[in-house]
């Protein structure tokens, strides 16, 4: 079709966690600008499969920017050249005919490669398990409108809650810090009245787990905020720090 592009892909291929891995070059011919980036990879994969070559593995599921599964480092940027979108929302119209596109997995010690472009993000799971909740059981809770919450606060909590746990912040950070992710999770609950009883204990537990997982320190570079597909703000990191330090003073009441 006219308007279609011919591209060259340099893709990170790695058989498994133990393999060293390397870049492999592929031709992506006749790519429509209307395709999404992942559809372009589908097309390349279909051609590989027809030639009985192992397709390029990558994580993806919803393909609408909400599940947080997709995680490609494209031309040196998490989720590619555009801001405020995920890889699955990126379309080929953002590239031009003849372009060479480099595709790598998230690179971080705490996110080991599983295969090709898919990485293991279970560290994020363990951080959330350590304290990312309000301890209420099912049933026996007050009527929803018994807890009025200012719209401003509620909207702010919502903004933090839109984090999709994709890990772009870690991939963007030169220290591979997970501070933006962890602080968004802490902030959402710290902002709301329901989150107050466990506020400081939560901050401590989640930060402790983050450190244990081998993420780097935050040095306020701000690359995470720029690359975050959901535009999670650095303010969250300040909140996390404040709550984490406050936790030391609240030790007696809050932490057992």
């Amino acid at each position: 079709m006219s308007g279609n592009m011919n591209l060259t892909l340099k893709v990170w291929r790695q058989k498994n966690a133990a393999d060293k891995g390397q870049f492999v070059t592929y031709k992506a011919a006749d790519i429509s600008p209307e395709m999404s980036f992942l559809e372009m990879l589908d097309v390349v994969n279909e051609r590989l499969v027809k030639g009985t070559q192992d397709p390029i593995h990558f994580d993806h599921d919803c393909r609408e920017g909400i599940c947080g599964a997709c995680s490609l480092y494209i031309n040196g940027r998490p989720h590619g050249p555009k801001q405020a979108i995920t890889t699955c929302q990126l379309h080929m119209r953002s590239f031009h005919d003849g372009e060479i596109i480099t595709i790598e997995p998230w690179r971080a010690t705490a996110f080991p490669v599983i295969k090709d472009l898919a990485v293991d993000r279970s560290a994020f799971e363990r951080i959330q398990q350590a304290g990312g909740f309000i301890s209420v059981n099912t049933g026996g809770v007050p009527d929803a409108n018994e807890i009025p919450i200012s719209k401003v606060i509620s909207d702010e909590a919502f903004n933090s809650a839109t984090c999709i746990s994709c890990g772009a912040c870690v991939a963007a950070c030169k220290n591979a810090s997970a501070s933006l992710f962890v602080s968004a999770k802490i902030s959402q609950l710290a902002l709301l009245p329901q989150g107050q009883p466990e506020r400081y204990r939560r901050a401590q537990a989640m930060v402790a787990q983050m450190d244990k997982e081998g993420f780097g320190n935050c040095t306020n570079t701000g690359a995470c905020e720029i690359e975050c597909p959901k535009e999670i703000s650095l303010t969250n990191i300040n909140r996390m720090r404040r709550d984490f330090y406050n936790a030391k003073f609240f030790k007696e009441e809050e932490i057992n």
Binding site: N16, S32, R63, G131, I134, T138, G139, P148, K151, Q188
Partner: protein, 644 residues
């Protein structure tokens, strides 16, 4: 076998409370002696797993993604219904019950639907207590919006990301139980079969999607919460990984499959652009609150629009056909999904479609922007508009959206009784993968409600009754049934890996999708369905001869994962066609062209079809056996649905 729905006796509004009281309880100190397997951790599974663990049961939970938070519930946009009547606009449990029964075109069980409406109010309380940031008014109280098929405002929402926020709530409850060691969570594990011991469900066999290890797990009961099977159509609003394998395998082990042909085609999705298309994106139904659906009045004008000679904004009011407002003055753009979809298809079939393919209608916000201001529209729908812009490169603040119907939801699923138990003792189905509650058509914002009602407020009661009955005798995987099932699965995998044909799995999946969309989609007729049946059978034979499956079992292998899913979709597709053939009436999402009113609306046949069609698997390449559960309506009067 006679299907026993176990519907409790007594007046509708009292059934559930009385039933809960009559159910057997498990002694608190015995609860930890039971293990419950929960497959799927979307809204239904995560809420069930967390609630059961809180009660003291040991839970093993499974999902195929790398995190429970990525289940496709995360993608639900519009909202969740609840009969809170916070708006004082006349809502009540009975009205929500009535709307849901009517919306489902009188093909669901009264007792289940009423229970759902009753529990709806508790869900909102639960979510708020967990910290779910629902939209609020300036006064600090919760905000509501209205949704298709209802004339009251009862939908709670969190901008356009309601599913995400609800799932994060359920996920946090799940995480808390994982932290307390009451739930063992197995991510990237795909259930490939059910294990039966002495006629009861007692475990599952899974494949570790990283290492390929085939493992088995034992439990006193198995809960399937694996979501919908809309991906039978290849293109749908479901996620790429959504599949029918868990329920299909369970079906082949004895669980009846109910109403497989009831699929919901959602009217407002972004249209297809090319054959590389991998999925379709929904534009939430909530948009129909403020957006107006129209096409050019004449074919000639539509033709000019398609060629780009005329811009939609330049078409005069008189030259537009707001066909939903015209045909259904009292519901207008808010008619239920099946009605909106069929009308869009009709307009396009009539040559009035827009977009380069002619398979699209407009959803226009110009009036709303004029009336409310751009900021107000942005506050309500900003993220949906952004999503549309990302995909189409067109700005919906400036020109109308182009939309077209797409497969979205499956009302059919495993048959369950009032306890949510399938026809296999000890096997339960929750959420979208069961058939209950939505009849032949689901109303907007009611799937999230159903998933969470099932998981938070129904299963914790009904499961206890079963477990109390079987007693806390330990179960483990030493029974030969486990080794046998593992062997069957290993053999099947080896068979896949030996397939070195010429056609890719996606090609088969796409072919299946096209057959289903063409003959078992928005409109169906006998000749088409018979043709589809033949085509699917031929596709199946070809699949097992000519498909290419690459790689090995002992690695992450997307080719192998797909092979199993596509093989199951093909078989399920055939059953859907059988079911559509059997149901000669039109109802809800199932439109049989042979059964329509003079005005072209769906015509039900209550005389002959007021039943649930539950299919029993009888063996490979053998026709399934139809069992009927008659639907008895004691409270609502069956009328031909009218939204005029």
């Amino acid at each position: 076998m006679v299907l026993d729905s176990k519907t409790p006796q007594g007046p509708l509004a009292e059934k559930w409370n009385k039933y809960k009281f009559d159910l057997k309880l498990v002694n608190p100190s015995n609860k930890r002696k039971f293990t419950v397997i929960v497959v799927g951790t979307g809204l239904a599974g995560a809420s069930a797993a967390a609630s059961l663990a809180e009660l003291g049961y040991n839970v093993k939970a499974f999902c195929y993604q790398d995190s429970p938070r990525r289940a496709h519930s995360i993608a639900a946009q519009g909202g969740i219904n609840a009969a809170k009547n916070y708006q004082n606009d006349g809502d009540s449990v009975y009205r929500l019950f009535y709307d849901t029964i009517k919306g489902g075109d009188y093909r669901s069980r009264e007792s289940n639907v009423h229970r759902l409406a009753e529990e709806s109010v508790n869900i909102i309380d639960q979510c708020v207590a967990q910290g779910v940031p629902f939209a609020r008014e300036y006064g600090g109280l919760l905000d509501n919006r209205s949704f298709g098929g209802a004339q009251v405002s009862r939908t709670f929402y969190a901008r356009g990301q309601t599913g995400q926020q609800l799932l994060l709530g359920a996920y946090s409850a799940l995480n808390r139980q994982i932290n307390l060691d009451k739930v063992e969570m197995y991510n990237r594990h795909e259930m490939l079969d059910l294990v039966m011991v002495d006629g009861k469900a007692q475990g599952i066999v899974t494949r570790d999607l990283i290492s390929g290890e085939i493992e088995s797990f034992a439990g006193h009961a198995v809960l399937l919460c694996t979501g919908g099977y809309g991906n039978v159509f290849y293109l749908s609003t479901n996620a790429m990984g959504c599949n029918a394998t868990a329920i299909w395998r369970a079906h082949k082990k004895g669980a009846f499959f109910a109403n497989p042909c009831y699929t919901q085609i959602h009217p407002t999705c972004i249209p297809v652009t090319g054959d590389y298309q991998s999925k379709l994106t929904l534009m939430s139904e909530s948009l129909r609150n403020d957006g107006r659906v129209w096409v050019p009045k004449t074919k000639e004008l539509a033709e000019q629009v398609r060629k780009g000679q005329v811009k939609p904004g330049d078409i005069k009011e008189d030259d537009r056909d707001y066909f939903l407002e015209r045909k259904y003055p009292s519901f207008g753009n808010l008619v239920p999904r099946d009605v909106a979809s069929r009308n869009a298809k009709e307009a396009c079939d009539d040559g009035k479609g827009v977009g380069t393919t002619g398979k699209a209608v407009y959803l226009d916000f110009a009036d709303a922007i004029h009336r409310l201001g751009k900021d107000a529209v942005q506050a309500k729908y900003g993220n949906l508009f952004d999503m549309y812009y990302q995909i189409t490169d067109e700005n919906p603040y400036e020109m109308p959206m182009r939309i077209y119907p797409a497969v979205h939801y499956t009302m059919g699923g495993l048959w369950v009784d009032y306890n949510l138990m399938t026809t296999v003792p000890g096997l339960y189905a929750l959420g979208e993968c069961n058939f209950s509650d939505h009849g032949a058509n689901r109303l907007g914002a009611s799937a999230l409600m159903q998933g969470l009602a099932d998981g938070y407020f129904v299963i914790p009661y009904t499961l206890g009754d079963y477990l109390a009955g079987i007693g806390p005798k330990p179960v483990d995987t030493s029974h030969p049934a486990f080794a046998q099932t593992k062997k069957d699965i290993t053999d099947r995998i080896n068979k896949f890996l030996a397939m070195k044909g010429t056609k890719t799995l996606d090609e088969y999946h796409r072919d299946l999708g096209l057959i289903m969309w063409e003959y078992c989609g928005m409109a169906r007729n006998e000749a088409g369905l018979l043709k589809a049946k033949g085509l699917i059978q031929a596709l199946k034979v070809d699949f097992w001869k000519n498909a290419i499956v690459l790689g090995e079992n002992e690695e992450m292998n997307m080719s192998l994962e797909k092979a199993g899913r596509v093989a199951d979709f093909i078989e399920l597709g055939e059953l859907m066609v059988d079911d559509a053939l059997n149901r000669k009436e039109s109802c809800g999402g199932h439109f049989r062209e042979e059964s329509q009113t003079e005005e072209g609306e769906a015509k039900r046949d209550d005389e002959n079809f007021a039943y649930v069609a539950a299919w029993k698997f009888k063996g490979e390449n053998t026709p399934s056996e139809l069992h009927k559960e008659d639907l008895i309506f004691e409270n609502v009067k069956l009328t031909q649905r009218s939204y005029k």
